[in-house]
Amino acid sequence: MESDMDLVESLIRKAGRRIEPPAAASRQVYAAASAALREKLSRRRGRIQLAWAAAAAVLALAVTLVLRWASPGVQQGELARVARAHGNVELAMGDAWRPLAAAQTRLAAGSRIRTLENGRAALELAGGESLRLAAGTEVMLDAPGRVYVRRGRIYVDSGERPGASRIEIVTPAGTARDLGTQFELQVAGAALRLRVREGRVAIDRGGRSITGSAGEQISIDGLDGEERGAIAPDAPEWQWAEAIAPTPDMDGRPVAALISWVARETGRRLRYESPVVEQRASTVILHGDIRNLPPLAALEAMLATTDLVYVLDGDTMEIHVRSVAPAGP
C-alpha cells in the first residue's frame, strides 16, 4: 500500500484536472444571481421602509386618499399604477401573494406583480412609460425607471418623445435599456428574446453588449448563441400587447389624438388622404367612452360617429372622408 502522502498525490494525478465551467456560463449565471440579489436587497429595503412608513401613513391617510383618488396618474413616491388588468393577476409586497383587488392599484418600490396562465396586465410607470405583462410573467418594481423581470414576457412602450425615457429592464438573462422605443422581451432561465418594434434597445449580458433596432428579433440561448431575424411592426406577434393596451381617456379630445394612438399601438404608419382630412381630424371632438376596447375596435366605434373612415393598407393606416353613396333611382 502506498503511504498516505503518496495516496493524495497519486489520486490527484491519476484523476487529472477538474472540469472548468465555460466562461459564458459563469458570466450568465453571475448576471442572473446579481439580479436576484438586487431584487432581494430591494425587497428587504422595502420591508424596512414599509415599517417606518406605517406610522407616518396613518397621519397622512385622509389627505392622501383625497388626493390620490382625485387624479388618475402615478403619484409621488409610487413607481407605477395598474392601468389595466385581465384574468388572474396577483400582487405581493413582501412574500405573500394576493389577487389584485381592482385596477388603479398603486405600486411602490419593492412591489411585485405576476400574471397567471390566463392573466395580463398593463402598468403605467412613473416616467409615463407603458409596461405590459403577458400571461405567466412576474416583475418587480425596483426603483424609478428600473424593473426586474424574473420570468415571462413584457412589452414596453416608452412613448413618442425621442430620448425621453431610459427605462432599465433587469432580467436573469441580461439587462435591457431602451433608447426611446417599443419593444418586447421574453425571459426563460438564461435565455432571452428581444423584439424591437420601434427605436433601439441595448442589452448588457454579463459584460457583452447587444443592440437591437426596429424590426429586429434577437434570440439568445442559454449558451450565448445568438440568432437574428426580422419582425414587422404590424406583425401578429404584437397583438397580445395591443389587446391589453390601456385606453387613454378620449372624451373631449380631437379624433386625431385617437387616430395617432391607434396607429402607434398597432405599429402602423399614419397617412391622411389629404391635408384637408388631417385638418378635419384635428377639429372633430370625440365624446364617449372607449375603455377596454382594443385599439382598432375603439377607432371603429368612434369614427362611426364622424364622417371619417380608416383603411388598412399593409403597414399603413389611411384616413379618408366617408364617401357618400349615390342616391338610388
Binding site: 487529472g16 472540469i19 444571481a33
Partner: protein, 194 residues
Amino acid sequence: MADLVHVDRAVARRILGGDEEAFRELFDRFFPRLYRFALARTDGDRELAQDIVQQTFCNAIDRLDSYRGEAALYTWFCQICRNALTDHFRRDGRVPGRVVLLEDLPNARAVLESLAAPAADQPDVGAWREQLHRIVEATLDALPGRYGEALEWKYIDGLSVREIGERLKLSEKAAESLLSRARESFRDAISGMI
C-alpha cells in the same frame, strides 16, 4: 468546522448588507464547484447543469437570511442544488440517467480499494477512470477554502511551494502549512468514503 461556519455566517451577513465584493468572492468560489456537482447529476448535460446552478444561486439568495450556520455555506448550497435537481426531474417527468453517484454513497470502496488501475487494453478502464475522476473531483470540491486549488497546483501543475504562496499571497512557510492542511483534509475526506 466551527471557524468555517463562523466565517460563512459573516459572509452571508455581508452579502445581505449589500457588499458586492463579498458576493463576487462567494460566486467565484462556489460556481465552478456547483457546476461540476450539477454536471455529474445531469448526465453531462452542460446547458441543464448551468440552468440548475443558476436556479440554485437564485434560490439560495432568496433564502439567505434563513442561513443560520447549521452547516458550511457550500454544503447548504449543495443541498439547495440537490433540491433544484429533484424539482427539475419531477417537473420533467423523467428519471435522471444517473441518480446516485458513487461519492453520494456511504461506501465507495469499489473505486478506491485498489489503486491498481485496470490495464489500458481492458474494456472497463474508461469507466474506472471516470469514476476515479468523479470521486477525486468531488473530494477536492468539498475541501474548504482554496485547498483544492492548492493541491491541483502542486500535483498537476507541478508548482513549487513558493509559487503556490505567490498565487495565494502567502509566505513560503504559510503556503507549506496550508498544503499540509490541504493534504490532511483530502485524506480525511477520501478515507471517509472508503
